[in-house]
Amino acid sequence: MSNKVLAKGLAGALAASVALVPMMASAGELVIESWRNDDIDIWNDKIIPAFNEQHPDIKVSFTPTPPTEYNASVNAKLAGGTAGDLITCRPFDASLELYKQGNLTALDDLKGMDNFSDVAKSAWQTDDGSATFCLPMASVIHGFIYNKEAFEEVGVEVPQTSEEFYAALDKIKEEGSYIPMAMGTADQWESATMGFQNIGPNHWKGEAGRKALIDGSAKFTDKPYVDTFTELATWKNYLPDGYEAISYPDAQNLFTLGRAAVYPAGSWDISLFNNQADFAFGAFPPPAPAGSDTCYISDHTDIALGLNAKSDNAAEAKIFLEWMTGSEFAELYSNALPGFFSLSKHNVEITDPVANEFVSWRQECESTIRNSYQILSRGAPNLENELWNLSAQVINGTISPTDAGAGAEAGLAKWYAPHQ
């Protein structure tokens, strides 16, 4: 008898689980794919509840993957038909390719799309600008965050020129109680993103230099790029001992524990530092050489949200996207995530002082984006990966700045006609 009961029970459980699986997926719950696993609390506690106040019947869940795995996992999920309804978009080619493969829906007719400038949309448009396939969310700005107490203790001022910057670092090093600059090369990307792309725009004159690389009139072997690598090579004098094995979280911790004076930053670091650092910190833009009349900053269009073309909940997803074009989301997002600056035209008041400092540079300096992102990372070898490797090697001292420039140029010349 007991066997029969068991068999019936098992069959019942099996039937129930088979019946439940599709039900769970089709209950109109929007799933957001993202690489921002740091933001899970903000989405769950602030953004999604704010949305649900207006649309209580649409359930939204935020399911991030670690940043380095995101592209691989979302591509695989889209190919396998198991991806969420809303896909967080990397800028330029990664998302463009998803659109070309038919994985993302064009969003040009979305209500509220005109709240975004053409520059903001450019990172998520086809090359001819005919279709926009992701809703721009935010940009991030590069610069340096510094420990105010350390600067006071050592007696250095916030540097205005690159000469003052390196003099200040030298002084901090000489004084000895602080590591001049907290960064490592173990993860490689900081060397390129917080190093090369941070100080570079002052050398290659922002957009002018970036566009010159794309049309082929400038090469990585030219002076501005080699100069950037040369400047980067001097950083090794200011980094902590054993920086070759120091990872990104190590560097963040060195700074928030008050052991380092300067931290080459992306504005996204602000919220972590607000939580962890118990000293006052400020920020300054990458200092240009003395006598330059303009300063340039990397104000990188970083993050957007697209609609999975195969979503079963497209109607609900569009309601969510429309809500995101409004001023409420812009306000909420910019302030919940200080350091991510809304790309919409709404006038957003930023309450965080350091984030406000970052965004104020938009008035004084010319903005540009990272030079490897548009078009140039389309081929193999991949320019962005090359720049990670070369920038880390330049700082490690295993390659000369000239060879690094030649290496990046050779990689580009291999597949990109304007550089051949």
Binding site: P240, A245, E384, N385, T398
Partner: protein, 312 residues
């Protein structure tokens, strides 16, 4: 005359034989053979941007093996893999054999405690092992420098995981630390199967413990040692997790820790702005398969046939 007694009549037994073999065959075919064959098929195709996959024959293999950039990357990862394997063969397996020999000494106290401790790291997740060792070896927070300081060798400490010359060797040692329990366990089990009278006879003849191990026990467990070697080979050439956990898929610095597993991952799934290319990825995977197949065939025909086995 017809057979009688327990001899099997295969014509009558056909149905049960098929019935017993079927589940394993079906599962193995579905989850092992089919994916393997299909990924080899995938490597003969290419997808132009926005287009449909088209048959390109051996073009992908030509790219990986003949294009200067691709070939440099591929052979770099191959040689790194060979180094990774060499460290395991020359360090992990001898240590495993030695520890198994010590554990099987007749009068050893705390035998079970030792055994448990030695096998413990094998049971940890690779991600945890990678994380622990990154912390131990960290130049900022690590206890590595302090430990060396105690014995006066602090000057030898360096950011080993971050240097081109030492990163791969360091990772190999971490992997050895984690996996030494496997050869230890297998060889220990083989040693236990050796009858005591063989050892007793040798001792009566005046052999020391070491001589007993070297001349009697070791030759008897050679088949197990050979099996451990081929398991090490297959495991190392399929390795991916530890490198990925510690150095990421770009396997820096300057690809010094790039092995075929990480190269495959980067190629197949893409990385950061680099988009994945399933066809080239499948090509790398098929080449990995061929290399492992060659190694296993070499073992089967050149090594296993020459091993002498003793009926104990």
């Amino acid at each position: 005359m017809a057979h009688s007694g327990p001899m099997t009549d295969w014509r009558k037994a056909r149905l049960p034989v098929i019935a017993f073999l079927a589940p394993a065959t079906i599962i193995y075919t579905l989850f092992m053979i089919y994916p393997l064959v299909d990924s080899i098929r995938l490597s003969f195709y290419a997808t132009p941007s926005g287009g449909e996959a088209a048959f390109v024959g051996l073009d992908n293999y030509r790219t990986v093996l003949a294009d200067p950039d691709w070939a440099a990357t591929f052979w770099n990862s191959f040689w790194n893999n060979m180094k990774f394997f060499a460290v395991h063969m020359l360090i992990q397996n001898p240590i495993g054999i030695a520890l198994a020999g010590i554990l099987s000494l007749p009068r050893l106290r705390f035998r079970n405690s030792y055994r448990t401790m030695m096998i413990m790291p094998t049971m940890l997740s690779v991600v945890i092992v990678g994380f622990i060792w990154q912390l131990i070896l960290s130049p900022v927070w690590g206890v590595g420098a302090d430990l060396l300081d105690i014995i006066g060798l602090k000057s030898l400490f360096g950011p080993w995981l971050g240097k081109e010359g030492s990163a791969l060797i360091t990772l190999s040692f971490i992997s050895v630390w984690q996996w030494v329990g496997i050869p230890l366990m297998l060889i220990y089990a083989a040693l236990l199967a050796i009858p005591d009278d063989l050892v007793d006879a040798a001792v009566v003849d005046g052999a020391t413990h070491f001589e007993v191990f070297w001349h009697i026990k070791l030759p008897l467990v050679f088949p197990t040692v050979a099996m451990v070697s081929i398991l090490t080979f297959v495991g190392n050439f399929n390795a991916f997790d530890l490198i990925y956990a510690v150095k990421g898929a770009l396997a820096g610095p300057n690809f010094a820790t790039d092995i075929m597993g990480t190269l495959f991952y980067r190629t197949f799934f893409g990385y950061q702005l680099q988009l994945g290319n399933p066809h080239l990825g499948a090509t790398v995977a098929s080449l990995m398969f061929l290399i492992i197949l060659a190694g296993v065939l070499f073992y089967l025909f050149a090594v296993q046939r020459r091993l002498s086995r003793y009926q104990l």
